[in-house]
Amino acid sequence: MPTAEPLLAVRGLIKRFGGLVATDGIDLDVAEGETLAVIGPNGAGKTTLIGQLSGDLPPDAGSIRFAGVDVTALPAPARSQRGLARSFQITSIFREFTALDNVALAVQAHAGHSFRFWTPAFTERALREPARATLERVGLGARADVVAGTLAHGEQRQLEIAMALATRPRLLLLDEPVAGMGADESQRMVRLLRELRGRHTIVLVEHDMDVVWALADRIAVMVYGRVIACGTPEAIRANAEVRRAYLGEEVPA
C-alpha cells in the first residue's frame, strides 16, 4: 500500500434491504490512476455497492472517503461536484435530447448555477464546445445531432461514458459498461475504456470476464455482499476459493 492516501477509501460498508444484507462490511481502496474491476455472481451486491459509492443509496454503516474527504453523508449531486462520476447498468440518458445536448447538460452541471432564464442554453459555446470535444473523444462525433433515444444500443452506452467524462471526474464508476452489447460494440467499448485507463481512476463492475482481463489492474471478487478476494488478475485466476465461489465449479484440488 503506497503511503499517499488512496483516492477512494471504503471502510465497513453495510447496506440492508429488509432481512437481506446486500453489502456486508466492505473495505476497498482505489489508488489514483488505477483500474479496479469488481466481479461476482448476480445478487452479490455489486450494484448496491456502486449505488452507495455514487451517493444514491445511503449506507447503514461504514464510511466512504473520496480525495481525502469523508463523503458518506453527501448526496449524489454533491459527490458529482467533487469529481465522482458514474454510468448506469441500464442505459440512463436523456432520450428526447440529442447526443450533444446530453453531454452539454453534463458540462452545464459543472459550469456554475443554472438560474439563467434568458440565453438559450443549447447555443452557448461555452457548453457546446467542450461537449463536442467529449463526444469526439468517445467516437460519437458524427452522431452529435441525433436524438439520443434513437441511437443504437452501443452508441447509447458510449454516450453514457461521454456524459460521465464531461463532468471532468477524478473517479469513474462504470456499472457493466458492455452489458447487452454485440461483439463489435463491446470491442469498441473496450478500446475506448482502454484509452481512458491510466488517465482516469476507474471502478468497473463487469460480468464479461474478457473485458475484466483486458482492463483491470486489480480485481475485487464479491460474494454475498463481501469481498472474498482482491488482487492482481493473476492472483485472482489462481485463487481456488474464487473459482469455487464465483465460477461455482467443483475445482479439483
Binding site: S54, D56, P75, A76, P77, A78, S80, Q81, A85, R86, F88, S92, I93, F94, R95, E96, F97, D101, L105, A106, Q108, A109, H110, S114, F115, R116, F117, W118, T119, P120, A121, F122, E124, V147, M163, A164, A166, T167
Partner: protein
Amino acid sequence: MRSRARVLTLLAGLLALGLVPLVAALTQQPFYLDLFRRIMIFAIAAVSLDLILGFGGMVSFGHAAYLGIGAYAVAIPAFYGIHSGLVQWPLAMVLSGLAALAIGAVSLRTSGVSFIMITLAFAQMLYYLGISINAWGADDGMRLARRSQFGGVLDLTNGYVFYYVVFGLLLTLLWLGNRLVHARFGVVIRAARSNEPRMRAIGFSTFRYKLAAFGIAGAIGGLAGALLTNQTEYLTPSYMHWTRSGEIMVMVILGGIGTLYGPVLGAVAFLLLEDVLSAWTVHWQVVLGPLLVLVVLYARRGLWGLLPEARRADG
C-alpha cells in the same frame, strides 16, 4: 426544429385572436369579446401549469389554488377600497408565488401519486378556507365593486381595452416562456423530467430548480386569477375547487403537454367546445366527456401533436 405547419398554425391562431374584437365589433356580437377573453385567461393559467406539468413532469393537481389566491388578492383589497391594479396584480403574483413555494417545498419531497394527492390536498385546504371566511363572502363569494384601475391609462371597463391587455399578457407570457424553456434553467427542468437520477448523477441538485419552477408557475397562475375576477367581476371560492384544477389540467393535456402553444390550443378547444356544444344541447357534457376519452386513447400527444411534420417536442 419547429415545422412549417406549426409556425403557420401558430401565426394564424394568434392573428385570429388579435382580430376577435374587430369581428365582434363588426358583427355587433360583444359576446365573442367576452368569450375569447375568458379563453385567453384560462390559456394563461394552462400555460403556467404546463411549465411544471409538461416541461417539469410535476403533476400538480392543485393549480386552481393559485388562481384562487390571485382572485382574492384583487377582491380583498378592492373590498377595502384599494382598486389600483398596480397594487392588486403584483400582490396576486407575489402571494400565489409564495404559496406555490411553500406548497412545493413540502410536495416535492414526494413523488408519483403521493405528489398528485398532496398538491390536491393543499388546494382543497385553501378552498375550504375560502368558503368558511364569512368576512369575505364565505361560499357565496363577493362582487368586485370595480375592475382594477390603472390611473386612467388603461380602462378595463372598456371590454376592448381589457381584451388587448389580456392578449398582450398572453403574448408576453409565451415570449418569456419560450426564452425560459430554452435557457439553462428550462433545460434543467426538462431534463429532470426526462431522467432525474441521471441529472443528480451528473451533478444537479434538481430540487431547487424544480421548486423555483413551481414558484414561477404559481405566480403566473395568480396573475390568471387576478384577470379572472376582473373578467367575471365576481369572486367565489369555487375558483379553487378541485374540478377547476382538473379542467385546467384537461386543457393542458388536450392541447399537448410539454409545449407552450399546446395549452393555449387546449384552452381554446375546451372552452369553445363547451360553448358550441352547450348552444346545441344543454347536455353538452355527455358529448364532451367521451370526446376527452377518445383524445386520450387516440391522440396521445394532444391536439398540438396532431399537427403534421411534428418531429420533436419543442417550445
